[in-house]
């Protein structure tokens, strides 16, 4: 299990993480969502032992990560850049990581490389962006660490290759219980890959839940009330946690947290004539959650 306990990370006067608590169980496909600068990459670097926390604890299987070889050997981190591998060939890159990860599987490497057919002896700097990403993912998976951290994992991959990489990851999860932590702005990918996701904003976790349950707890409602002359406000619906409230003539568009029954119960006193409840996509949840926190695209409208 990967754990953050009250983790704090500061860059000068900027608080990248502000007392974050997080647990990622083994075998999970965990998605890190968040606005730019929310602290996603910082969490990945803390888990991979690159950064030392300024406060709190960063643990892998109960062992602090920073400067601890045992914990670091369980993690493979693929960051959002590939320029550092430019001087290697794929063979050299394999050899490089092979010497540090005793769990490295030549068989897995051969299988994955064979599937993608990446050139083995060409400098990686001559690869396309997507090929570079594939190369490091192959090596990362071949290292067979229990935890794989991917920062902007699918950036630069074409649709076909996305499917292939996803399949590789899913296979590894199925075969050896790989825990994958993915940080991405591409919520569709997270939605497809991950079973759990956490939303970060300004160094704090807004929510951390299973994606399926997340989807069932936020609804978009289109409702028309019997009293068409009255202008309803969010306060008229009691304790219903409303993320978004908009009126277009007699139709109200409401985004609210809660299950369908509780929402309908909150609307009932005002005699809705029509009330359609639609589950939100992850992207919509992302947008509306952050809108509540002031991270609103409408500021430029």
């Amino acid at each position: 299990m990967m754990t953050l306990k009250g983790a704090v990370k500061r860059f000068g006067e900027f608080n990248a993480l502000d007392g974050v608590d997080l647990e990622i169980p083994e075998g999970t496909a965990f998605g890190l969502l968040g606005s730019n600068g929310a602290g996603k990459s910082t969490i990945l670097r803390l888990f991979s032992g690159i950064y030392s926390p300024d406060g709190g604890e960063v643990l892998i299987d109960g062992e602090a990560v920073y400067d601890h070889v045992g914990a670091k050997q369980k993690v493979f981190f693929i960051n959002d850049e590939t320029i550092q591998f430019g001087g290697f060939t794929l063979m050299q890159l394999k050899a490089f990581y092979q010497q540090f990860y005793p769990t490295f599987s030549e068989a897995i490497f051969q299988r994955l490389q064979g599937a993608i057919q990446l050139p083995l002896n060409r400098k990686i700097s001559t690869f396309s962006k997507g090929m570079k990403r594939q190369a490091i993912v192959i090596v990362g998976l071949a290292c067979c660490t229990p935890y794989l951290l991917l920062d902007e994992a699918f950036d630069g991959l074409d649709p076909t290759m996305r499917i292939i990489v996803k399949r590789m990851l899913v296979d590894a999860m199925c075969e050896r219980g790989l825990t994958v932590v993915i940080s991405s702005h591409n919520l569709k990918e997270i939605n497809e890959m991950c079973d759990t996701a956490a939303l970060l904003h300004r160094g704090k976790i807004i929510f951390n839940r299973q994606i399926d349950s997340l989807k069932g707890t936020v609804h978009k409602i289109q409702v028309v009330f019997a009293d068409r002359e009255r202008a309803f406000t969010p306060q008229d619906f009691g304790g219903l946690p409303i993320l978004h409230f908009q009126r277009a003539q007699s139709i109200y568009h409401i985004i609210a947290k809660g299950d369908e029954a509780s929402i309908r119960q909150a609307l009932a006193p005002h005699h809705p004539v029509v009330a359609d409840l639609v589950p939100l996509s992850l992207e919509e949840i992302f947008i509306y959650e952050l809108e509540v926190l002031g991270y609103d695209s409408q500021v430029f409208a």
């Binding site: 493979f76 850049e81 550092q84």
Partner: protein, 850 residues
């Protein structure tokens, strides 16, 4: 899963560093392969051609090895400098944002990462050097067989041994310094966060550490009486690679290479009675151990800083700002040292400009510039304040410290102005406790004297920067191609054209800088551990003589003086090549007798061993004589500049056997105080009466300052000035003797005094002895130097310079200068005369081999 130990990962990572930087390693290998082997090849080639019997071959050979030496030196220098780049590429994670994630995420902790990177860089840097050193060694051994060692007075084995000793010291020393340089580069790279800062901080600090230390120590030792700049070697030589390299070359290798390369060493010729613990080998070992310890300390510091630096700080100019502030402080202090050479505010302004440029570079702009200004003011204040505090307290009491004799293993005294004939300083080193105590007593005595004098040293220093208005100071002076005369009669003024003053300044710019005639000595005490206590003094004649008295009469002194006599004779007299023996031998000895310039010479053409016998006799005499006999005995003749007293019985007997006779005591004008230099026979005297004087465009009375007799000397009324006197009447001789005996050491007073300059040393004549001074000034003295010439110079319009020789030489009789014209080299009756047109004959006394 395969289990691997942690060190295994470090080794793998080190190997990874080497692999990834293979190109740099290859370049280093090539440079190293061309470096030491070429240099050693050239050195051995030099040895070979220099020892060839055929001179022509040797001349041709010089052009053959010099290019290799240059190529080798260049390659070696470049490969050494590459240490910086090895450090930088081995620690890419410290300055490359793209590498930091990759390398920090590896399953290595900070310690493993540091040492594996450190080892990887060191391997690439030092192993090629070691390989090249082995290659150079083999080359030296092979080429040694081609050297004609017997030409150097050695056997082949001895020559090889000498070469290898020298080679070993150089190669091992350079290896240690390269290791230190690499480690320092790693340390500084660990402190920096960008490539630019890594490179420029490295380059600057490598120069600034020894440079600023030298500047500060130089400034402080210059200002604090007694402290010696030589102290700095123990700081500069051990604290930085560049300083260490200077120490290695100047002190450890050059000082020990006389056997093969030259006869000069940094400390001059050293005579040692017995093996001292600080012998060059010991010094080398001590230096090597300290270099290793300092390097290890640097490595530990680098490791700790690296371990503690945060990955996210890469990209910041300085991760640890201590390195930056060290750089900033050293630059500022270095420039501020210029204040002591009269730059004053200009130095502060210059320092400020450099300081703020560095600040703008670091901050990438002008952010919080007020803070920079505060830091600058702080550094300047602390530097200047620290300087004055250090100087006022005598470097916190260091200047007064004299180690107890019991703790001293040996004491070395270097007489800076006591040269032998080859230009080496006389340097004596004693292990005898009695001599050490005597030296310490003399040292305490002149320390105490200096306290009485007060600001004498300051006054001496002021003299160095004292400027004189030439027109005023030399109101009645003029110059032409032959020199100048002070206080010349005013009727000569008419001869001066409008440009004389300009020409005078151009030709005699240094004449206006009146400096006291003092002699520098250094005293070094060595402890059993090799620690040094180094003192340096500018001594007036009396103190100088007192110190000589402390060591005169010892066998070591006798040996040194005999060696000095030997080198004087070797260098002073003509040598010739004996075609048969292929040796260069001196063929004549010449010395003066009586109190005039009456030279006699004897030819030893066929008996060079007589030279050695004379030197041995001189040494035996000095060994048998007491200090008093040596210093105050009646001098009956001199051989070159070396005095022979009536107690030098063996020497006189040897000279008599050569055919010399009539050893009459030379006239000496030495008073008890105004002793001058203990063996000088020629008296240079100037006498100044009290009056007003000019100082820095101001006219002052003699009572305006305590140090008037030091600062005000140029404008004293010059009563009498002469070099090399011949006093022609007994009354004046008596007056002069009385005046010299009345002369006192300089002291602070506001009373009027006469100022007496004797052989460059200043003494005071109080007003109570004014009569003596006036008597000497009014006495009849005839000089044989410039004054005499000018007194005979005809300044009429039709006077030709060509008449000069006739007037000059014609004045004296043949007994003194011979009867030769200036264009003749040889006279059938008298033989050759020397370059100074001073008479000698090879017929008067000729020693014939029996």
């Amino acid at each position: 899963m395969t289990a691997r130990s942690l060190p295994d990962y470090s080794v793998r990572n080190a190997r990874r560093v080497v692999k990834q930087n293979a190109k740099l390693a290859i370049v280093t290998c090539i440079l190293e392969a061309l470096g030491i082997p070429l240099i050693m090849g050239a050195v051995m080639l030099h040895q070979i051609v220099e020892t060839l019997p055929d001179t022509r071959s040797a001349i041709i050979g010089i052009s053959a090895y010099v290019p290799y030496m240059m190529i080798g030196s260049t390659c070696l220098s470049v490969s050494v400098v590459l240490g910086l780049f090895h450090a930088i590429v081995s620690f890419q994670e410290t300055w490359s944002r793209t590498r930091v994630d990759m390398l920090y995420a590896l399953p290595l902790n900070g310690t493993q990462r540091f040492f594996s990177h450190y080892a990887g860089g060191a391997l690439m840097y030092l192993v090629p050097y070691a390989g090249a050193a082995v290659l150079g060694l083999l080359l030296s051994i092979l080429l040694n067989f081609l050297v004609h060692a017997e030409e150097l007075g050695m056997t082949q084995t001895e020559h090889l041994q000498t070469v290898l000793t020298y080679y070993g010291k150089s190669v091992v020393g350079l290896f240690l310094l390269m290791w230190m340089y690499y480690t320092l580069s790693v340390l500084l790279t660990s402190c920096c966060g960008t490539l630019f800062e890594s490179i420029y901080t490295n380059l600057l600090l490598n120069l600034l550490i020894p440079g600023a230390l030298a500047a500060v120590i130089g400034v402080v030792t210059y200002a604090v009486d007694g402290l010696s700049f030589e102290y700095s070697w123990d700081i500069i030589g051990f604290t930085s690679p560049v300083g260490g390299l200077i120490y290695l070359i100047v002190v450890l290798i050059a000082g020990d290479s006389g056997d093969l390369f030259d006869d000069y060493s940094y400390y001059g010729r050293v005579y040692v009675t017995q093996a001292a613990p600080h012998s060059t080998a010991f010094l080398y070992l001590r230096w090597a151990v300290i270099i290793v310890l300092v390097t290890a300390a640097m490595a530990v510091l680098a490791w700790q800083l690296y371990r503690r630096r945060k990955a996210e700080r890469v990209g910041q100019p300085f991760v640890w700002v201590g390195a930056y502030y060290l750089l900033l402080t050293l630059v500022t202090v270095c420039i501020l040292c210029l204040m002591t050479v009269g730059m004053g505010l200009a130095a502060i302004l210059f320092a400020a400009i450099v300081f703020f440029i560095l600040e703008v570079i670091r901050k990438r702009g002008f952010r919080r510039f007020w803070l920079s200004a505060c830091v600058f003011v702080g550094i300047v204040t602390v530097s200047i304040g620290g300087y004055f505090l250090t100087v006022r307290t005598g470097c916190f009491g260091c200047d007064r410290y004299i180690p107890p004799a019991a703790a001293v293993s040996s004491a070395k005294i270097v007489f800076h102005e006591h040269f032998d004939g080859e230009g080496s300083r006389l340097s004596l080193e004693f292990t005898d406790k009695d001599v050490i105590r005597a030296v310490q007593d003399a040292q305490r005595s002149f320390r105490s004297d200096n306290d009485e004098i007060g600001t004498l040293r300051d006054a001496l220093r002021d003299g160095n920067y004292f400027t004189v208005d030439y027109r005023d100071a030399y109101d009645y002076s003029y110059e032409d191609d032959y020199g100048y005369v002070e206080n010349s009669p005013s009727e000569y003024d008419a001869m001066l054209d409008d440009d004389w003053f300009t020409r005078y300044q151009e030709d005699h710019y240094d004449v206006g800088f009146y400096s006291f005639r003092t002699s520098r000595v250094e005293i070094v005490y060595y402890s059993l551990t090799g620690a040094q206590c180094h003192r340096s003094y500018d001594l007036l004649a009396d103190d100088y003589t007192a110190l000589v008295r402390a060591v005169a009469g010892t066998p070591l002194y006798a040996e040194a003086e005999a060696k000095a006599l030997e080198s004087h004779l070797d260098s002073a007299y003509a040598m010739y090549d004996d075609d048969y023996e292929e040796r260069r031998v001196p063929y004549s000895v010449e010395f003066e007798v009586d109190n005039g310039r009456k030279y006699r010479s004897v030819s030893l053409k066929n008996a060079p061993e007589k030279f050695d016998q004379l030197i041995q006799a001189y040494q035996r005499d000095l060994e048998a004589m007491s200090a008093e006999q040596i210093l105050n005995g009646e001098t009956v003749c001199t051989i070159e500049e070396m005095p022979v007293t009536k107690d030098c019985t063996n020497t006189l007997q040897m000279l008599t056997s050569f055919g010399f006779e009539e050893f009459t005591p030379l006239e000496r004008f030495f008073g008890t105080d105004a002793g001058g230099y203990y063996y000088e026979q020629i008296l240079g005297v100037r006498l100044y009466a009290p009056g007003t004087y000019r100082f820095d465009t101001r006219t002052l009375s003699t009572t305006e300052t305590d140090n008037v007799y030091f600062n005000g000397k140029p404008a004293y009324e010059d009563l009498f000035s002469s070099d090399a006197l011949s006093i022609e009447d007994d009354e004046t001789v008596a007056d002069m003797r009385a005046l010299l005996e009345a002369a006192r050491r300089p002291y602070s007073t506001e009373d009027d005094c006469y100022l007496l300059l004797v052989n460059g040393a200043y003494y005071l004549i109080p007003m109570e002895d004014a009569g003596l001074a006036e008597a000497v000034a009014g006495g009849k003295l005839v000089s044989v130097a410039y004054d005499e010439f000018w007194s005979r110079y005809d300044f009429s319009d039709d006077y030709e310079d060509s008449d000069w020789y006739d007037d000059w030489y014609g004045y004296y009789d043949d007994e003194m200068y011979g009867a030769f014209g200036p264009d003749e080299d040889y006279d059938d009756d008298y033989g050759y005369y020397d370059d100074d047109y001073e008479y000698f004959s090879d017929e008067d006394f000729v020693y014939e081999e029996s």
